[in-house]
């Protein structure tokens, strides 16, 4: 039997028929999506919709039950090392070596990614300065705030300037200045390049501003996918915000008034 043809090596990410199962619970159902060159793709969904499971499969943390993931044509399961070389990942929670300082942690990441000394130092210094990280770089990560840890993770993800950034709730716990930097960065990072960005978020406003296309996940299923204009059309809401479109497409708007009333009087 002939093997499947290698996907297009210029496409940052192709997820084809992905399913993720934990024990008896299926977190992702036959999901297919593509991040095109020069594209910021937003993965939207409620809590437990399957966003993080999808992302964890892409970065190699959770094995898919079915389906195939390829990054610039490399198979995520069979050629994991090649895939990891091309990905920069910001996890949902700050799972770091608590006993290292950010400088020591970044040095470890730069070593594993085989970055030359001058390149690693210049980039780390430049990114740290942009996030206004000073003495924090030499303090143990255990003593840092959540926001500072998130900044360290973002620096670690872009230190090797990967062609594909995979960001799981990257703006979580960042201060407004850092959020602004990230908003500006993501658009510029892919503009006119073959790079791609996949990021998950709950914040519709951010997705609306940044994403060329979004995929709406609901209970592990991709309910809808496309640009904001296409989604508005599908939701039959011509002037709606992405939040309204999201709620309509996932039917999360049903019973909203009752839900709000439940909190009244508390």
């Amino acid at each position: 039997m002939a093997s499947d043809p290698r996907p297009d090596p210029s496409t940052p990410l192709v997820v084809d028929d992905l399913s993720v199962v934990y024990g008896e619970r299926q977190a992702v159902h036959h999901l297919s999506l593509t991040v095109r060159p020069g594209e910021v793709y937003g993965l939207l969904g409620s809590n437990g919709a399957g966003k993080s499971s999808t992302i964890k499969s892409i970065v190699g943390l959770v094995p898919p039950s079915t389906g195939r993931i390829s990054v610039f044509g490399w198979d995520a399961q069979r050629e994991a090392l090649q895939v990891k070389v091309r990905i920069g990942y910001v996890p949902e929670t700050s799972m770091l070596y608590e006993a290292l300082t950010p400088r020591e942690f970044l040095e470890f990441v730069a070593s594993v990614r085989a970055l030359p000394r001058t390149v690693a130092s210049e980039r780390a210094e430049s990114y740290a300065a942009a996030f206004r990280l000073g003495s924090e770089l030499d303090e143990p990560i255990a003593s840092l705030s959540m926001g500072t840890r998130q900044k360290v993770l973002i620096i670690a993800a872009i230190l090797h300037q990967p062609p594909l950034l995979v960001l799981d709730e990257p703006l979580h716990s960042l201060d407004p200045r850092a959020v602004r930097i990230m908003k500006e960065l993501l658009g510029r990072y892919v503009a006119g390049t073959g790079r791609g960005v996949l990021f998950s978020t709950h914040t519709m406003e951010v997705a609306q501003q940044l994403c060329h296309r979004v995929g709406i996940l609901d209970h592990g299923l991709l309910r809808s996918e496309g640009s904001l204009a296409e989604l508005r059309e599908r939701a039959a809401r011509g002037d709606a915000t992405l939040e309204e479109v999201f709620l309509r497409l996932t039917r999360e708007d049903e019973g909203l008034d009752d839900a709000v009333r439940a909190f009244e009087g508390t």
Binding site: P91, T93, E98, S111, V112, S135, E139, P140
Partner: protein
């Protein structure tokens, strides 16, 4: 709220401490299978098992001390360094040693488990809840005491019981204030030094000479573990000193001895048997003894009170870093992947006493035995045998502790698996650490004993012949652990969790490291060059088998 309420809350909180100690969820570990209730039950059971292990060691100390007390007349019949020692003086000396061991071992246990307790974050979780200050303080105090409950109980019960059985009920009763003070002082010392650790080691900034300072702290941290060894080495000299001081009658030296902890309490049981005359005490000596004992009891009570007040503050304070210190100007210095793993592990160990202990123990043990060799006399066969024994223990300890370094990968494991690093690099980095521990330990023995043994050629050949076996053992253990991690998830290995996993995996490792050593000793009758050659060939053969097993793992696929 009442003490009963504090106990109820602390019971719930202690389950969280156990869960974090065993499964380290706060460090990013994935949830375990099964129901949360079952995971909690398993965690509590494993913590109890570990506490029972520590308690058993303390029980053995007490039984061993009682055994020596039983045999005191025979032992006292021989002079120590030419000094005659009476039976009561010997008994007081033995009890001094036993109490010192209890304090040192409980203190060391506290130092090992305190970081786990703090990392559990349980006190910070309780803080915002509507619980009054006094109850929160009590909860924190109870949680701290529960870390030691079984071991402390054994010290409090077994020691007076054994002493009572050997020396009589009155002597057993007289031991009670001694063990109460021992437990109180050990727990207080653990908290004081633990607090210093959190401030100076865990919160220590990176770079510069701070690494040296951290390791210096950690050496002090490990030293209590050597109390037993130190006491065994120093016991004859100590007994001679006791005999001389007591026999000299009233003097400043004797008064200082009577007032010094733990001799103050150790003197009480023999006095109940022979009266003050057994220790040649006059009324002045008795008055000093009574005053010192009363003072120590007051300090012990104060120490417990201070602990109960202080644990809460320690539990909610983050590691204190120097916030206003200027940023370092040093850039990143990337290395090869395996060296990066080694550097990362050493940096983590320098801020984590559990790992630092594993790194330092084989080295300090080699130094201790090496020093003992040094004093045995120049050029003696005994010195050579002891020197080789020191190298042997360095090899076996490095091999025994090797698997524990795998547990460092538990920290941030989820993140590290997304990096393009191969299993081969991780194994090589950790094997380099184990080999380094052996190399430094053996090298120090060589340096210390060189002046005494006068056979550096044999020594160097012995160290070199054993080295491939140590590397082979580390490779086998780590290769096995990687395979196990792939099929069952990562094993967490620390004093409070997964101790059995580490021990089980260490057994074949010890066989590999031990085989060339056994061959060397079996060939004692053969020329030493032949024995060394056979030893080296066995070690190389082991390496030839273990290396492909570990380094060919999954064709070097990423972690």
């Amino acid at each position: 709220m009442s003490w009963a309420e504090a106990r109820r809350i602390s019971d719930v909180a202690f389950t969280e401490v156990c869960l974090q100690a065993i499964y380290a969820f706060r460090q990013g570990n994935a949830p375990v299978g099964g129901t949360p209730a079952r995971a909690a039950q398993t965690a509590r059971r494993r913590v109890v098992q570990s506490k029972m292990l520590v308690a058993a060691v303390l029980g053995l100390f007490a039984a061993g001390g009682a055994g020596i007390l039983l045999d005191a007349p025979t032992i006292a019949a021989r002079a120590f360094f030419g000094v005659a020692v009476t039976v009561p003086v010997l008994q007081a000396g033995v009890l001094t040693g036993l109490l010192s061991l209890d304090v040192a071992f409980l203190w060391w246990t506290g130092l090992q488990v305190l970081p786990t307790f703090l990392a559990s974050g349980v006190l910070a979780t309780l803080e915002p809840l509507p619980i009054d200050d006094r109850t929160l303080g009590r909860v924190a105090g109870i949680l701290y005491l529960r870390l030691f409950d079984l071991p402390a109980l054994v010290v409090l019960v077994a020691t007076p019981l054994f002493v009572g059985l050997v020396l009589g009920p009155l002597a057993g009763l007289a031991t009670i204030p001694a063990v109460v003070c021992a437990v109180a002082f050990a727990l207080g010392l653990a908290l004081v030094t633990g607090r210093a650790f959190v401030r100076r080691v865990q919160g220590s900034r990176g770079g510069g000479g701070r690494t040296f300072v951290r390791w210096a702290y950690l050496v002090l941290w490990v030293l209590p573990a050597f109390a037993m060894f130190g006491f065994a080495v120093a016991a004859p000299g100590f007994l001679a000193l006791l005999g001389r001081t007591i026999a000299a009658g009233p003097s400043v030296g004797r008064d200082v001895l009577l007032a010094a902890y733990p001799f103050t309490f150790a003197a009480l049981p023999p006095i109940t048997v022979t009266g003050p005359g057994g220790l040649a005490l006059d009324s002045g000596g008795l008055a000093i003894l009574a005053a010192a004992a009363a003072a120590y009891l007051v300090v012990a009570v104060g120490s417990v009170g201070w602990m109960m007040r202080s644990v809460r503050r320690l539990g909610i304070a983050p590691p204190s870093a120097v916030r206003d210190a200027p940023a370092s100007r040093s850039g990143l210095v990337p290395h090869g992947a395996a060296r990066a793993v080694l550097t990362k592990d050493l940096r983590i160990a320098s801020r984590t006493p559990g790992y630092a202990f594993l790194v330092l123990f084989p080295v300090l043990d080699a130094i201790a035995i090496g020093l003992f060799t040094f004093v045995t006399g120049p050029g003696s066969n005994g010195a050579l045998a002891l020197g080789l024994a020191a190298v042997t223990t360095a090899a076996l300890l490095a091999t025994f502790f090797g698997p524990a370094f795998f547990a460092i990968e538990v920290n941030a494991y989820a993140y590290a698996r997304t990096l393009p690093i191969t299993d081969r690099s991780v194994v090589l980095g950790k094997v380099a650490l184990v080999a380094g521990m052996y190399g430094v330990g053996a090298g120090l023995v060589l340096g210390i004993t060189d002046l005494r043994v006068f056979e550096p050629g044999i020594f160097v050949a012995f160290i070199a012949a054993e080295a491939p076996a140590v590397v082979a053992a580390a490779m086998f253990e780590l290769g096995w652990l990687f395979r196990r991690a792939r099929s069952r998830g990562l094993a967490i290995v620390n004093l409070y969790a997964g101790a059995w996993t580490a021990i089980a995996i260490s057994i074949p490792g010890l066989v590999l490291a031990g085989a060339p050593l056994v061959a060397f000793h079996l060939l004692a009758a053969a020329p030493i060059a032949t024995a060394l050659l056979v030893m080296g060939l066995i070690a190389l053969a082991e390496l030839a088998v273990a290396a492909p097993f570990a380094l060919g793992l999954h064709g070097g696929r990423s972690t």
